[in-house]
Amino acid sequence: MNAFLALIARELKLAFRAGGEAMVLVLFFVMVGVIVPFAIGPDRPMLTKLSPGIVWIAAFLSTLLGLDRLFRADDEDGSLTLLRFSVLPLEAIVFGKLVAHWLVTAVPLLLATPILALLLSMSFEQWGRTALALLIGTPALTAFGAIGAAVTVGLRRGGLVAPVLILPLAIPVMIFGVGMMDPMTGGGATLFLLALSLVVTAFSPFAAALALRTAGE
């Protein structure tokens, strides 16, 4: 457990002290939300109607954008090889990195949702539901992303492959996440999204660790 917490602490330190990528991701997230009114016009009722979807698309894109930093830097400087021979099994290490990655990339997005809510003229209730949906759904996005990142870690070319692989797989997250907006079916969607998030988070460290082992051979 100590080693696990130490790993998360290391990841958080790295994220906050070097590069400031969390800030850049938040910026990207807000900017995607901001360009949509330029594309479809500043009609407030329409924006209100579309805003949950826009926020989800922005979250999707920024999660995919942040994918690459999950394993690549560690693979390039050799710390991934070291981690593979640490006391923790590789699956636990992947899970730790996943948790840290979620804290660094998804939580700032959640904190930035009020800005988008204001800009896209969301109602307070809409914002609450969207934030809740993102809170439940982003672990699944991160977990799917971990598989994509692990699978493409050894590739010198093809940084674009991971998002293209992951996007179709993550469609259910989007469906249930946006489905939570509907007052009629929202309850069911919430449960489905919770279930999906749990299953994918439990499952993906194994798939990602297998891919990392294969890539490291």
């Binding site: 699978v151 492959v161 692989l165 259910p172 469906i175 489905g179 297998l210 891919a211």
Partner: protein
């Protein structure tokens, strides 16, 4: 009592050895090709001349004889790829990698034909090329998964490593496809009440069934044929690659 240190390979691993595969699969190509041609000739005859028009759709119903077999193959090919992926991961078998690599573009093409014929069929019967119907949407997502797998194959320099990595993605996709299908159906019923498919309870006359099943077999034979030919090509391509490397190595050391 002496115990042999070398485990005797069973019949399956003997057959699945790439070299063995090259020698025995040769005898399947021509019979399969002839079978494919015959069944296509029969199937096309049945579907164009020996089957009735639909009382509502008229001649358009004949699209079904292309559409349904391709839809069936789009799923069968993913099944083949999934079992090959198990072979790659559990036994690390090179032939399983080759199976996956050979199948992915075929599956993508069958899926694309399904979508294409489906939209041609949809235009006169439902009045639209595309509807966000549950089945159509999952078929589209399946196409994207196939294309992603092809892109992943192409991104790797080292094909033996690519085999196992792609196998992982294939398995993840196999687990996910039912979830995607379920979520899309759920989403679709959320947005529009009645789907197009539930309204038609097709009771086909026998001649249509005959045509449909003949075409089903024809396309499956075609798939088997293309699969074997593509696997042979891939094995030979890998051999040529190895020979080229050895030649280059000799050139360096000489």
């Amino acid at each position: 009592m002496s115990v042999s240190a070398v485990k005797q390979p069973n019949w399956f691993s003997r057959l699945a050895h790439p070299g063995q595969f090259l020698s025995w699969s040769r005898y399947f190509i021509w019979p399969l090709a002839i079978l494919t041609v015959i069944s296509f000739a029969a199937g096309l005859y049945f579907s164009f001349f020996a089957s009735p028009e639909d009382y509502q759709m008229g001649d358009m119903v004949r699209v079904m004889y292309i559409h349904v077999p391709n839809a069936w193959l789009s799923m069968l090919v993913y099944g083949v790829m999934t079992s090959a992926a198990l072979g790659s991961l559990v036994w690390r078998h090179p032939l399983a990698d080759v199976t996956n690599k050979a199948a992915a573009p075929l599956g993508a093409v069958f899926t694309a034909i399904t979508l294409f014929t489906g939209s041609l069929w949809g235009r006169p019967t439902w009045g639209t090329f595309w509807e966000w119907d549950g089945r159509m949407t999952s078929e589209l997502v399946l196409l994207f998964i196939y294309l992603g797998i092809i892109a992943l194959w192409r991104a790797f320099d080292d094909q033996s490593k690519a085999g196992r990595i792609v196998a992982i993605v294939t398995l993840v996709g196999a687990i996910n496809i039912p979830i995607i299908h379920f979520s899309v159906e759920w989403w679709n019923t959320l947005h529009q009440g009645a789907t197009v498919f539930t309204s038609s309870g097709p009771r086909m006359p026998g001649s249509m069934l005959v045509a449909l099943f003949t075409m089903l077999f024809a396309f499956t034979f075609l798939y088997a044929l293309l699969q074997i030919v593509r696997m042979r090509t891939e094995i030979l391509r890998r051999r040529a690659e190895t020979m080229r490397r050895q030649a280059a190595l000799k050139g360096v050391s000489a």
